[in-house]
Symmetry: C2
Subunit: 215 residues, 2 copies
């Protein structure tokens, strides 16, 4: 594998990143199955896409594989992990420990990818001080000081829509610059903060769209 200097990444589409995540999962399957090389055709077939799409997606990040020989599974797996930022651990806190926050706190899929939940926060005095899955729930007011002592990479926001912007402002003020929000509302953050929103209702709308418009 050759991994040349990659071009600037600013304009990588969201859909491309989603496919990289899928490719990584397929590569890990291939590795588990004992395969050492894989072609772009095989990777495409596994993911329901085209080999041209696979090659284009990878081309944003350098030159991988050899013509006619395909990709080395182990090396491409490692490259995908590096590109996706998975060669390190990420310190994650969850703000809002209602039903969804509590479910996320123990979600195994996070741990497996190096997203380590290191803190839980809530504004409800009845919840602060309690333990959820071996982590104490702390008051949102202590976030700034906590973050100075042990900086956090990502804050997962799982509070009601009505509280979300205020909580995001507190998270930003505390100096945390990666945010994933589950609140069903558009949030505003400074340009140097990265925000990713997961909207469950919108996910269902993708499905109702597909169901309404299929033959």
């Amino acid at each position: 594998m050759n991994s040349q200097a990659a071009p600037p990444l600013k304009r990588i589409a969201d859909s491309t990143v989603r496919r990289l995540s899928l490719y990584l999962r397929f590569l890990e399957e291939f590795e588990t199955a004992g395969l050492t090389t894989v072609s772009s055709d095989e990777l495409a077939a596994r993911g329901g896409t085209t080999s041209a799409q696979v090659r284009k997606d990878l081309s944003f990040f350098g030159s991988f594989g050899k013509r006619g020989l395909g990709y080395q599974v182990a090396e491409l797996t490692q490259s995908m992990r590096r590109i996706l930022g998975l060669e390190r651990d990420w310190r994650v806190i969850i703000v809002g420990v209602g039903k969804i926050g509590a479910a996320l706190a123990q979600f195994e899929g996070f741990q497996q990818r190096g997203f380590r939940v290191v803190g839980l926060y809530d504004s409800d005095p009845a919840k602060v001080g309690r333990e959820i899955y071996h982590l104490p729930v702390r008051a949102i007011e202590s976030l700034s000081e906590d973050n100075r002592e042990q900086p956090v990479d990502i804050a997962v926001i799982a509070v009601p829509a009505s509280a979300a912007q205020r909580v995001v402002d507190q998270v930003v003020a505390a100096g945390i610059s990666g945010i994933m929000s589950f609140a069903p509302i558009q949030l505003h953050v400074p340009a140097d903060v990265t925000l990713n929103t997961v909207n469950m209702a919108m996910e269902l709308e993708r499905l109702s769209f597909a169901l309404s418009n299929r033959e």
Copy 2:
């Protein structure tokens, strides 16, 4: 507004559908704020995209608005709802009432969009028969008969990865043709079944990618 016959929808990109969902939310905001018309520029500014993108996204579904006059907010809102399949109620069941399934069962955002959770299913005898948010948990084995009596539109799969394909096979065998899965695994369904996967770890990977590659 003119709404001419729309072209076939088979090739509408996922990213387009996601933007339609966002446009609908912005239009609803505008409507709440008392606006009666909106330009593609205003819609674009609200969503951090370009007016050309807005016009292109809408053009897949017909001809909306008038040159120089913009869009009628109420009419475009209604069109977006129709296109996204939101002018009707959808009967939804949740299969797997662990932490995530239970959280989804009471998620208000679903109800607001007409996704009515009408049934809960689990394979765990300890859970079957219990009530969660006023709905009894039923045995997965009763799904086929239940669906014959009162057909379900969408099954939300919230079981562990190891059980997901088996459960999906049961859902498909029961005659349900819309599936949303939260299981972190690639699932296989017949061509006439529509499957949408939400992968929490992949959502975090979009964030770690962005955080790793920003300036």
